[in-house]
């Protein structure tokens, strides 16, 4: 029986039916199909939620491997496993108060904020060193960058209101054109990838990589 469910044909058929059930209701109103689609999506969401438990399990398996072999950095893996266990225990005591709340407020959030904040220093240093007018294209890029940077500083707009239409022209034309190209490329890539999965040409995605 398990061989039947593991067979390529059955998995591809299930994927195809799931695709039809969720895709078609976007374009054609068929009440029965909409019910199936809604239930299927809800089941998927719930199953996905359990992947968090799987992630914890995987981290433990990997962490234990490091600890048993005393590989480089094993102590950090051990520390990570201890903190995972502690956070799971803390979370059961309530999230809006108690130890979970304290760990989030006193440790996780400040570290997360620092991690984000120090990026500004690296980005400033990188910009100052990388933006060189090496040729005409770089000079044009630099000029556009200057206008947008000046506009981004809120004081500039209040002193020189004339900078706003110029900066908005640059962001609403050139920048938007590039962003759209990027978005459309990614979307087309995703569509092609999806079609390849349904045609069985990306077997790894469906867990058929070994066949």
């Amino acid at each position: 029986m398990s061989a039947f469910f593991k067979s390529r044909e059955v998995i591809l058929t299930a994927a195809g039916l799931a695709f039809v059930a969720t895709f078609v209701p976007y374009f054609v109103t068929i009440p029965e199909l909409s019910v199936i689609s809604t239930k299927l999506v809800t089941i998927t969401a719930l199953v996905n939620a359990f992947t968090l438990a799987l992630a914890v399990h995987s981290q433990f398996m990997r962490g234990m491997y490091f600890v048993r072999r005393r590989s480089r950095g094993w102590i950090l893996k051990a520390y990570m496993m201890v903190t995972i266990v502690l956070m799971v225990i803390f979370a059961t005591m309530g999230q809006d108060k108690g130890p979970y709340n304290w760990v989030m407020l006193a440790i996780v959030n400040p570290l997360s904020s620092v991690n984000y904040g120090i990026l500004a220093f690296y980005m400033a240093s990188t910009c100052a060193r990388a933006f060189r007018a090496r040729n005409m294209k770089a000079l044009l890029f630099l000029a556009a960058g200057f206008i947008v940077l000046f506009y981004q500083a809120p004081l500039t707009g209040s002193i020189f209101p004339g900078i706003e239409p110029v900066a908005l022209y640059l962001t609403d034309t050139f920048a938007m054109a590039i962003t759209r190209t990027f978005t459309m490329s990614v979307t087309l890539g995703a569509i092609i990838f999806g079609a390849r999965v349904l045609m069985g040409k990306q077997p790894q995605v469906l867990g058929l990589g070994g066949e």
């Binding site: 809604t38 998927t44 500004a120 400033a124 060189r132 200057f146 004081l155 209040s158 209101p161």
Partner: protein, 289 residues
């Protein structure tokens, strides 16, 4: 070569090869200085922030707003002025509000947010359960967003502390059609999914996003899928200016302005160093002179 030429070259060399820790130090000074002692520089209001403000102004007491905290706590630092100002407007309009979260770090934000607005909430009798609900970390992935858009009651049955939503204002929300407005405060975790499953179907959606996301979000604004985009901390400050408060965003704008000017100054200095030292040196090396 004269002594003055040597000296001039050494200045260019310094401008080309100065220690990057100087940038770190000066940036630290221009950021921390104005935060300790604000200068209160004037700020302009961009059309994007005005548009965002206009959308929030249309809310009424019968509207149900879904606020999505689609951010890590780190990203919240950049978004918080916009988050607080937007929530302030929603409370002032006395619209109903459900808060959904898409990152575990953001589970702590509602406490901070509603703590900061306690006086306003008391003044408007804005109470938990009747006026707003925190649903917690319900958006783990796209499937969860899709599920809430199609079958809200099937997907959401309780708030983040396990109290049933039955009997609250959320009982009337069946699908995407029953949400009046989505306000997504986002670093890009699941805002695309929210847009796909709510905004593309017709739910009005506005976005308060971090700086790096603005060009990408504006393409959706341009096509009408999003109704407004609030550009990061600067947008938050502008929204504060529009609603007439002086909050965290406004206070940060001095540092924001000086930081930008400092960056421009260092780019100019770097280019002087490049043309005065690095470029001639590279040319000399190429020609063997």
């Amino acid at each position: 070569m004269s002594v003055s030429d040597e000296k001039e070259k050494s200045i260019f060399r310094y401008l080309s090869e100065y220690d990057r820790r100087i940038i770190y130090f000066l940036l630290f000074i221009v950021v921390v200085g104005p935060l300790i002692s604000p200068i209160a520089m004037p700020i302009s209001v961009s059309p994007d922030s005005k548009q965002y403000y206009d959308v929030l102004r249309t809310l009424g007491s019968n509207d149900i707003v879904l606020t999505v905290l689609d951010t890590e706590f780190s990203g919240y630092m950049e978004l918080q002025s916009g988050v607080i100002a937007s929530t302030r407007m929603i409370i002032e309009k006395e619209s109903k509000m459900a808060v959904a979260i898409s990152h575990p770090e953001a589970t702590i934000i509602p406490d901070i947010l509603f703590g900061a607005l306690k006086d306003l909430m008391d003044a408007h009798h804005y109470t938990y359960g009747d006026s707003y609900l925190v649903l917690g970390y319900i958006y783990q992935n796209e499937a969860s967003v899709a599920s809430s858009a199609e079958d809200f009651q099937g997907f959401v049955r309780q708030d983040w502390q396990g109290r049933p939503i039955k009997g609250t204002f959320l009982e009337q929300v069946r699908s995407w059609k029953d949400i009046s407005l989505i306000v997504s405060h986002t670093t890009g975790i699941l805002s695309g999914s929210v847009m796909n499953h709510f905004a593309l179907r017709g739910t009005r959606m506005i976005v308060n996003c971090i700086g790096g996301m603005i060009p990408g979000q504006k393409t959706y604004l341009n096509t009408g899928i999003l109704k407004a985009v609030l550009p990061a901390m600067r947008g938050g400050a502008e929204l504060e200016s529009l609603i007439g408060i002086r909050g965290l965003g406004t206070k940060a704008m001095d540092a924001f302005t000086l930081g930008h000017y400092m960056l421009i100054a260092f780019i100019i200095i770097g280019n002087i160093g490049y043309f005065g030292y690095a470029r001639p040196r590279a040319q000399k090396a190429r020609t063997g002179g």
